[in-house]
Symmetry: C2
Subunit: 245 residues, 2 copies
């Protein structure tokens, strides 16, 4: 139960809000006014993403003998979340492999990378784009942590445009972190087709017609922010860090 | 299941290790070699501590009408963990109040303080030490996040020495974070007597004869560290961030 609602007037239940440009504004406010740190937010988001993946694909339900997962990480924050997610998946006894084609020069991103390396999480030096079957055979699923809200879907550059072409051909399920690597505002016909979407903080506009399994993760948003942006988040149960929408 | 053990020789189960000076060495190694950040570790520890408190004292089992909790935060890392714990307790619908007599000048500690203030978590300006009954009446429990491993129990200074005298007189349960605010190596006869202890990463020597409810929290330690320090941690279940010892 949201505490602030307990004191409010009897209320009609407002629908969950799907964010457009506001997602960036919320994040700015969290960092600037609420004094959250990027490292802290990325850790919470990556951890919750890993928990969501264990819910959608429990170890016992994986089709392959080894609990392998390919985590494709982009150069920015979405990629950092993917790195944290991979590390927690490893703690949860999955066998993540990272594909991380462009390393960021941001020290936080580099630290998250080293944390994965020091956990002996392997990293691919290239993705076998010509032989999609290799990916289907090697992994149970692919985590798309490539491009976040900041990406411009009409102008996705290499290597990500090539990876997206590959992801459109693979047969194993795709899990997208926050936004599928397509446009955050309008779902694209050309985009990849994830089976699972993990929305962070609040769902984004592009997820309005998403028909797969949809999780909301990142249960830490201050009530004032939830109110200001009229997020109308559903209640999380117990101490769960995520819920299924 | 610990993944590395799957490949190891058939093994006898070694007893869980209770750390002496090694706790500080592990933390140094995590920060220096594994490139974890303090903000990240404190967030994980504080979050797991809050979850442990919900297990030991579920909302439905609290004796008072309001789910009030007093969180006493020290000036250093243990206090920062207490601040994060209070914030997550608020998210879990408890009503924490912070008592934080000495603010640190460390910017990380200040940021964690602001995060609590911005969540409208009240803060006491003084603790009614002369009227212990006021504390018994106002709160369901007290979280002791005052002094960590770095504290020298033979030389605890004001205001903490006075607070400890008060805590020895209260009737409501005490939950200690990482180490009760007594010596980490030898349990002290003069110390406070927590009902619950939340050991972070690994239990400390002082907890060897602890007879209350004992949680181990902070499930993120790289396997190489666990091995190097021969921690022999028990297996956490599922995606649980803690276990009861």
């Amino acid at each position: 139960m949201n505490h602030s609602s307990a004191e409010a007037e009897p209320e009609t239940i407002e629908p969950l809000r799907y964010l457009k440009g506001d997602a960036a504004a919320i994040e700015t406010e969290l960092l600037r006014d609420y004094k959250f740190g990027q490292q802290q937010l990325i850790e919470l988001w990556g951890q919750a993403s890993a928990v969501a993946i264990t819910k959608a694909y429990p170890l016992s339900a994986l089709s392959k003998k080894q609990p392998t997962v390919l985590v494709i990480c982009g150069p920015d924050q979405n990629g950092s979340i993917g790195l944290v997610c991979a590390r927690h998946l490893r703690i949860f006894d999955y066998e993540p492999t990272i594909y991380h084609p462009k390393r960021s020069s941001h020290s936080l991103h580099q630290d998250f990378t080293i944390q994965c390396e020091k956990m002996d999480i392997p990293s691919l030096s290239y993705l076998p784009t010509e032989q999609v079957q290799l990916i289907n055979d090697a992994y149970n699923l692919v985590i798309d942590a490539m491009l976040g809200l900041e990406a411009d879907s009409s102008n996705i550059k290499e290597p990500y445009s090539g990876i997206l072409v590959t992801l459109k051909q693979i047969k194993i399920p795709i899990v997208s972190v926050d936004v599928p690597s397509w446009d955050a505002e309008e779902p694209s016909q050309d985009g990849i087709n994830p089976e699972v979407l993990i929305s962070l903080m609040a769902p984004k506009k592009c997820a309005l017609n998403f028909s797969g399994k949809h999780f909301l993760a990142g249960r830490f948003l201050p009530y004032d922010i939830q109110k200001k942006y009229e997020l109308n988040l559903p209640d999380y149960a117990g101490t769960d860090c995520l819920l299924e929408l």
